[in-house]
Amino acid sequence: MRIKLLYFASLREALGTASEALEIPDAITTVDGLREHLRGRGPDWDRALGSGGAVRVALDQTIAGPDSPIHDGAEVAFFPPVTGG
């Protein structure tokens, strides 16, 4: 399954990347599964996406929950709590 990943604000800086296309194993079926997969990339990823930090996830530009199902071609974005207005 191929997906598009986006990172914003402090998360983008902590991870050193704004976007990437990624082929993920079929075993990953949910937003939380994807997050766990990405945490395994190294200490920076583990820290930035770990349960200690407040991380929001959007799936296809709509706020998603941990159990939201990932599909082929999905756009998944990770970001901190919003501070606009």
Binding site: L6, F8, A9, S10, A54, A58, Q61, T62, I63, A77, F79, P80, P81, V82, T83, G84, G85
Partner: protein, 148 residues
């Protein structure tokens, strides 16, 4: 419904006049303008950078305006939110609501603003004498949004 997420500044007077001119049923227009302060959490702010999620930011704000239209009897809603480099005194956001009577316009304007602050994907980074820092989300904003 008008939603614009843009780098450019906006003309509040012109936007509000446009909102009235489009509909003779309008008896009330309530508006909120947010601007960059030079002091935040006790720190001097020299510059502010606003980052957004192109596409989702517009969608999220449009969804908030739709919800306002379901809760109150409104004529129209307008939200303009800026992104990019801003300085103290610069306008950041305009929320304007038109309706037949003032109560709906006042309430919907505050509702939209509370929801934009807590649900639209935008992030502020401040630069001052003490360097750069990402502004942290405030509990008071979540509490304000939870009232609705």
């Amino acid at each position: 419904m008008i939603v614009r997420v843009q780098r450019e500044d906006f003309d509040v007077g012109g936007e509000l006049a446009g909102l009235r001119a489009r509909n003779p049923q309008v008896g009330a227009v309530a508006a909120f303008v947010g601007s960059v302060r030079d002091l935040n959490d006790g720190r001097r702010v020299a510059r502010m950078m606003l980052e957004h999620y192109p596409g989702m930011t517009e969608k999220a704000i449009a969804g908030i305006c739709r919800e306002a239209g379901e809760r109150w009897d409104l004529c129209d809603t307008l939200v303009i939110h800026r992104f990019g480099e801003l300085e103290p005194g610069d306008q950041i956001v305009l929320v304007a609501v038109s309706s037949a009577h003032r109560a709906a316009a006042f309430a919907a304007c505050e509702f939209i603003m509370d929801y934009v602050k807590t649900r639209a994907p935008l992030w502020k980074k401040e630069t001052g004498a003490q360097g750069e820092r990402w502004v942290e989300a405030r509990d008071s904003d979540d509490q304000a949004a939870a009232r609705w």
